[in-house]
């Protein structure tokens, strides 16, 4: 098990490294006269040159990358071109918002998707068809459109939740809940649609296995067979899909944070990209990619724990 985790961690680190290199090259491609943009067209040429030198953008790209990397591994992601704020600090300030969103979505999705999937897979018939129709609908509609409808109904028409704004959990738990409930629910709909289908087919597949029949012949209670044996064997493929949803959820978070005015990484990405603040964009990309790699690692480890055979792979 230890070797398995080590191998996966190594592969993940390599992936992050390669992505950082390629993105750095691509982000540096256009001959971006940063200082000119910063200082305006009237600034004297000497000042522009001095500023470019100060920012380090006059050096060869490879040297810039080596410099960036040597700082990044020590946790220093550089400084914003426009606000001269530390990229790491700026991200750290907004990370909790997005993280709490993601955590809420993952928990809600796992709970609802497993309940629906097991229900459909065990009961079949009408329950099954209902879950499948819900799945197609949840998949068919673009997430942000569903979010807009939710805002329109629950915030604008019914006024149950604020349409916009964020209250940190440290200020007020109730206030926090009122600001994150709608975002979490809107993000979960698509994820539930995808994951519940996977849980359903995995449960049906496991129920057909020989060992389930043999367990029944041993006189085990149906509940124990279902919740111990079927659920454990069905959860590996379901977890894989849940992990894959995470990448899509990050994109969804960008839109949802924008709609609800949440000060998270997503709205930060929108704000800084329109200005072309490359160090911030680079930092954001690396943090999100690292998040994706971490989630995939966690899923791999969880599957390894659940399914002893997978540890050898």
């Amino acid at each position: 098990m230890f070797g398995f985790v080590l191998r996966r961690t190594g592969a993940g680190l390599l992936l992050v490294l390669v992505i950082s290199f390629v993105t750095y090259l691509l982000l540096s491609l256009p001959d971006n006269d940063v200082a000119r943009t910063l200082l305006g067209p009237d600034a004297p040429a000497e000042l522009v040159e001095a500023t470019n030198a100060e920012l380090g953008v006059d050096r060869p790209v490879l040297a810039q990358y080596a410099d960036w990397l040597s700082h990044a591994v020590r946790g220093d992601l550089g400084t914003s071109w426009f606000t001269s704020e530390s990229v790491g600090t700026a991200i750290a300030a907004r990370l909790p918002v997005t993280l709490s969103l993601m955590l809420g979505v993952t928990l809600l999705t796992a709970l609802v998707a497993f309940a629906l999937g097991v229900w459909a897979g065990v009961r079949r018939g009408a329950a099954d068809r209902l879950v499948q129709v819900l799945g197609v609908l949840g998949y068919a509609l673009p997430g942000f459109l569903v979010t807009l409808v939710i805002v329109l109904v629950f915030a604008v028409r019914l006024g149950w939740f604020p349409a916009i704004g964020y209250i940190p959990i440290t200020d007020s738990v109730g206030g926090w809940l009122s600001t994150v409930t709608l975002p979490i629910v809107s993000l979960s709909i698509g994820a539930v649609a995808g994951t519940s289908q996977q849980v359903r087919s995995a449960v049906i597949e496991v129920l057909r296995q020989d060992y389930v029949r043999t367990l029944r012949s041993r006189g085990l209670p149906t509940r124990s067979i279902l919740f111990k044996h079927v659920l454990r064997n069905a959860s590996a493929p379901a977890l894989t899909v849940l992990g894959m949803q995470f990448v899509g959820l990050l994109g969804g978070a960008v839109l949802v944070e924008q709609i609800f005015g949440l000060p998270g990484l997503g709205s930060m990405a929108v704000a800084y990209t329109t200005r072309g603040d490359i160090p911030v964009i680079m930092g954001l990309l690396m943090v999100t990619v690292a998040g994706v790699v971490l989630i995939n690692l966690a899923v791999d480890v969880a599957i390894g724990v659940l399914n002893p055979k997978a540890r050898r792979a």
């Binding site: 041993r218 064997n233 954001l284």
Partner: protein, 565 residues
């Protein structure tokens, strides 16, 4: 195609898509109002003649913006789709067909791209490239290419192993001919389905980018931009969001529903069987004129039926009579499909989904007297299993749960059957493993199924069957899946346990040698019926039925062969 036309949802989706595409193409013909012609006095104006949907916040005609927006919105999605297809499909074909280094490199790149959050990458690209929606759509295409790559590669790898490809290769066809002629026909249907799905995703992402205002610059009309403008006035005029929202929602839904309908039509998926009406009962057993019922297991006029997709039932086991006395071994022989396993499953109450006992009577004699098990409740069934009747399956590996250790799979049924503590159950599990002649029971207890051999696994399953000290053992071809040397050991073990514990055994097998070796009496099944039954010496020595005779002769034919080996 005809299948597809029968699906109303699919046809409706196709019509919606055709309508939207038609409107996008014919936009200049549908309205002569320019989409960016603004007149502030018309702002938030209601529909008037020539302006069927009214005006937006800047006094621009909503209908004109909607149909012109369709061009930009759909155009963006089509561009992304084209890039994804152009990259993903050829790469998938080559990686799947040729494999080797290309497959390895492409596979690694695909993993890399799939770790990238599309939305963040698009935002970053926007920072570098500026507000050009078409460039962003090309990047989205690159990000979507892995879904085509993985789909095509997976199918091609499967197809490559098929015989007709080998034949084509032997016939000397060049690789590109093989790919275009054989491989492309197989991947066509899944690609069409994937096209519709990815188009839906691309549409959603494109509209999302436009919605947060990072896609295009200026007043290029798109559905996403219209939604954004509408959202800014959500309190004042929510209806501004209605038309672009409806257009986007309907188009996306139509794409996914079209994909689902195409999948049903192209992949020929079986529809769920209609449920059988509950009123169908169990035909009672005919008992008159039949021998006295045996003291341990007695089956009379057993019928087993399976549900068919059209809602009717088909009987696969007809009028089977069978008796097992305590301490006796009865063989149930027949070729595969003769109904012998269905009979065994009926006795254990573990027929698969869709199957049921549709007639007859099965009585099993436990410590608390004789029980009729046909129509027994799940709860009462559970009390009988393991403590009275027990099961040894055919294929040892697939009958152990791969996720749990042998120990937990032994201890669980012991505790259910006897209600003892975990420690006592563990002790009993060790004793049982010793009883089935496993040398290192402590190690086996800690092992997972994939860590032990097939013969060992079958011993474990036999031990598990003994967990509740049963009186009747149903063994379904217990040696068929094992090596010849292991077969003899397992049979010897079964015989020893049977003698020591005085078990009655119903041994399902297709091997007459095993029957002659082990059984006291035998029943021969063919096409769901018992054609001959009686003491082994009688049935095998002087078979009355032609089928039994042919079975016996087949074994005799084999004998000299075996000796000469």
């Amino acid at each position: 195609m005809r299948r597809f036309l029968r699906n109303p949802l699919g046809v409706l989706s196709a019509l919606v898509l055709l309508l939207v595409i038609g409107a996008a193409l014919a936009a200049p013909l549908l309205t002569d109002v320019r989409p960016d012609a603004a007149a502030l006095r018309d702002a938030f104006g209601a529909p008037t003649d020539g302006h069927p949907l009214g005006f937006d916040s800047a006094g621009r005609d909503i209908f004109a913006r909607l149909v012109h927006g369709a061009r930009n919105t759909l155009g963006g999605a089509v561009l992304a789709l084209a890039v994804a297809v152009a990259l993903g499909i050829p790469a998938g074909l080559i990686a799947g067909y040729a494999g080797r280094w290309f497959d390895a490199v492409a596979g690694w790149l695909v993993n890399l791209v799939m770790a990238l959050p599309a939305m963040i990458v698009l935002l970053a690209s926007r920072a570098v490239l500026g507000p050009t929606v078409w460039a962003l759509m090309i990047i989205l295409g690159v990000l979507a290419a892995p879904s085509f790559f993985r789909l095509v590669r997976g199918i091609v790898v499967n197809v490559r192993g098929e015989l007709y490809l080998d034949a084509a290769r032997v016939a000397g066809l060049p690789a590109w001919r093989i790919i275009t002629r054989h491989v492309l026909t197989v991947v066509r249907a899944p690609i069409i389905i994937q096209l519709a799905l990815v188009a839906g995703v691309a549409l959603g992402l494109q509209a999302g980018l436009e919605f947060i205002g990072v896609g295009s610059s200026g007043s290029l009309p798109t559905w996403g931009a219209m939604l954004n403008e509408g959202f800014q006035y959500v309190q004042r005029a929510p209806r501004l969001m209605l038309w672009p929202g409806l257009a986007l929602g309907l188009t996306s839904a139509a794409l996914v529903l079209l994909a689902a309908a195409l999948r049903d039509a192209l992949e020929d998926r079986a529809t769920d069987p209609k449920p059988v009406r509950k009123t169908i009962g169990v035909r009672p057993a005919r008992l008159d004129g039949k021998p006295e019922r045996a003291a341990l297991l007695s089956v009379r006029s057993l019928a087993v039926s399976y549900r068919l997709p059209d809602g009717t039932e088909r009987e696969v086991v007809h009028d089977v009579d069978l008796d097992v006395e305590p301490g006796r071994i009865v063989g149930l022989v027949g070729e595969s499909g003769s109904g012998k396993t269905q009979t065994a499953f009926s006795i254990l109450g573990i027929l698969p989904e869709g199957g049921r006992v549709s007639g007859g009577s099965i009585t099993i004699n436990g410590p608390s007297g004789s029980t009729e098990v046909v129509g027994l409740s799940t709860r009462d069934w559970r009390k009988l299993r393991s403590t009275v009747v027990s099961y040894v399956p055919q294929e040892p590996m697939s009958n152990l749960d791969p996720s749990f250790t042998i120990g937990s799979q032994l201890i669980e049924p012991i505790r259910v059957a006897t209600g003892v503590s975990r420690a006592a159950a563990r002790q009993r599990a060790l004793d049982l493993l010793r009883a089935v002649e496993i040398r290192d029971p402590e190690r086996v207890l800690r092992s997972y199924p994939h860590q032990i051999s097939g013969g060992m696994a079958q011993r474990v399953l036999i031990a598990a069957a003994m967990a509740g000290d049963p009186r009747l053992l149903i063994a379904d071809e217990p040696t068929t899946a094992l090596d010849v040397t292991v077969q003899a050991e397992i049979l010897a073990l079964l015989r020893r346990l049977q003698r020591e514990r005085g078990l009655g055994v119903l041994l399902v097998t297709h091997n007459l040698g095993v029957v002659a070796d082990l059984c006291d009496s035998v029943a021969v099944m063919r096409q769901g019926r018992v054609v001959e039954a009686g003491p082994v010496a009688e049935v095998l020595g002087a078979p009355r039925h032609d089928y039994t005779r042919s079975l016996v002769e087949a074994v005799l034919d084999e004998l000299p062969l075996r000796e000469s080996r």
